[in-house]
Amino acid sequence: MIAPARARLGKLAPQFGIIFVLAMLLAGGAVLLFTQRELEAMVDQSLIDDIARISAPIGARSATVAQIADRVRQRERERSISEVGHALMAADGRRVAGMVRVAGVAQGFSDIKFRENAPRIRDGRALAVMLPGGAMLVAVAHSEIAEDMERIMWPVLLLTSAGALATGLGASFMFGRMIADRLSSIRFAADAIVAGDLSRRVPVRRLDGLFAEQARSFNRMLDRIEELMANVRQFSADIAHDLRTPITRIHTFLDEAKRGGSAARDRAIDQARRECASILGIFDALLRLSEIEAGRRRVNVRPVALAALVEDVVETMEPALADRGQSLRIGPLDPVTAMADPDLLNQLIVNLLENVAHHTPRGTVAVVSLTADVTSGFARICVADDGPGIAAADHDRVLRRFVRLDGARSSAGNGLGLAIADAVARFHGGSLTLNDNRPGLIVCLSLPATVPGHAPCLEHPLPAGSAL
């Protein structure tokens, strides 16, 4: 067995990967910006709080510059590196208190450069307020934490992005490969079928979920195709085989016609015509079988009142049987409706009654009945006769095409009547069964139906061959 070539998933995987990475980058960038902004807001708030504390009024009167200066010095004695630094300047610009050296600070918030203790110039966030009397109090937050954060964050972001990129691309490629693998088994089966191996199916064992469903659907479709192909092959075989006899006979009659005088010629021509008619009969029957099995009769299916249909066929066939010295009666008829092709049902019952006509002697009595089984939801149409019957061993065989039982070989019919009846039964989701009528034969068609007032009608007829 050749291993299935793994199809590439094309542009799908990289596209997916790129979208994934872009999304990750956007998300990361957004988080970063948000975090930064939050930090800045926190710093500004801490500056506001700080200024508020340092310049808080004492009792009902606002603090004086001297008092504020005291507080500043107090603060500086207590504080640690990471807190806020201060500068308190008198109205004339002279520094009054605070270690922070800063020049030209405007009121309000600003980003400044300053010195504190060390000669190093640093960056910071400043809040400057004007005090009554013209003095200015400046609180400066070191950006150390922010600086550190910034130093860390960008590399972290880059690393995360790289990780996301790798994961994204990797995941999408792996996902793509997994899909391709599962799909390839379907493709492989399809290729094999196109090459002629109709029995190939998609293995379902290693699949699950959506893929298993897909595979099962596909397999069901293949079953149906195989069935249809088998029908076509069977049809061709049947034609080839069973038409040879009448065609050979015509050949013979034409030879005789050539040889004999005019009376013999006329007779031979009549016989040849009859053989033509019988060939056409076989053709029509085979076409009907094909038509039914290929599902081409679905269009004709509609709700049918079975009692009326049965009555109609009996009324039709009673004279034909009476002319052969046989009698046809109606048995019980339950009120039942079924989704059916009335033409096919007519053909089925007519076929069964014609079998009675051809294969039972004068004096035979036949009864047609229609009964409904409420519990199973099936209706049964039965044709029972008290004729010679069929041996139990032949009950199944006789439903096949072109099977003629020994006694019947010389009488009318083409060996397809029961095959058609069987196909009609299966088309309707039912079955045809033969049984001993003791004496005689009873043939019953079972099909899904509705009894008024009981189970709801089946909306959709079952596909041919499926069991209920």
Binding site: C276, L280, G281, D284, L287, R288, E291, R296, R297, V299, N300, D312, E315, T316, M317, P319, A320, L321, A322, D323, P342, D343, N346, Q347, V350, L353, E354, A357, H358, A412, G413, G417
Partner: protein
């Protein structure tokens, strides 16, 4: 009748043409759809016999072209394709009747008469009739009653339909196939004499009230003789 026969197989075309002429009708032949349409433009015909499978423009195509112009003669479609959907397709496309090959010439003739008669009838009386009256015989479609002179005739559904069908085609042959299709709606060929048996019941009942007005036409079908009603 003046007939147009559109059929590409020369053997079949000639056979149909000759048979028609032998019966006293005029027949013109066309071997393609286009030639048929040409002929229709050139002269008036009473009916058209149209093969389905033609080279170039096929039978269905010809029908569609005919639909575009009203007051066309009735069309009997011939075809080797006989499955239910193929029949329906032909009738839906505008054919007045559909006959599957091979066929008896009597079948073709009887059906041609029927579609011509239907065409003339629908031109005169567009509504469906309430009953039929031929001689002393009358049928009432509403009550399903049959009367001959002063006798009430008791008919079951099938016998009534048979009589109605024959009366509709008084003095014209109605074939077994036509009866099977129109009254029973069977699309299959029974292997027993369903039509004959039902017909003989009807004729027996009619014979009780006078002479049997129905004749068997050997090899063709049945005919109701108005003179005998």
């Amino acid at each position: 009748m003046k007939l147009l026969i559109v059929e590409d197989d020369p053997v079949i075309a000639m056979h149909v043409g000759q048979s028609m002429r032998a019966l006293g009708h005029e027949a013109e032949l066309a071997a393609t759809g286009e030639a048929g349409l040409e002929a229709l433009r050139a002269s008036e015909f009473d009916a058209i016999v149209l093969d389905r499978l033609l080279p170039g423009l096929d039978g269905l195509g010809v029908l569609r072209k005919l639909q575009q112009h009203p007051n066309q003669p009735p069309v009997l479609m011939l075809s080797a394709l006989g499955m239910i959907d193929e029949r329906v397709e032909g009738l839906d496309a505008g054919a007045d009747d559909y006959l599957v090959k091979p066929f008896e010439m009597t079948e073709l003739m009887a059906r041609l008469n029927a579609i011509v008669r239907r065409g003339l009838a629908s031109a005169d009386t567009p509504r469906a009739p309430a009953g039929y009256q031929v001689g002393a015989l009358s049928l009432d479609l509403a009550s399903h009653g049959a009367v001959r002179g002063t006798c009430q005739i008791d008919l079951n559904r099938k016998e009534f339909s048979l009589l109605a069908e024959l009366m509709r085609a008084t003095d014209q042959v109605v074939t077994r196939r036509m009866l099977l299709e129109n009254i029973w709606g069977y699309s299959f060929e029974p292997s027993t004499n369903i039509i004959e048996s039902n017909m003989s019941r009807l004729r027996a009942k009619l014979a009780l009230s006078g002479q049997d007005p129905i004749e068997t036409v050997r090899g063709a079908g049945y005919i109701l003789r108005s003179a005998l009603c």
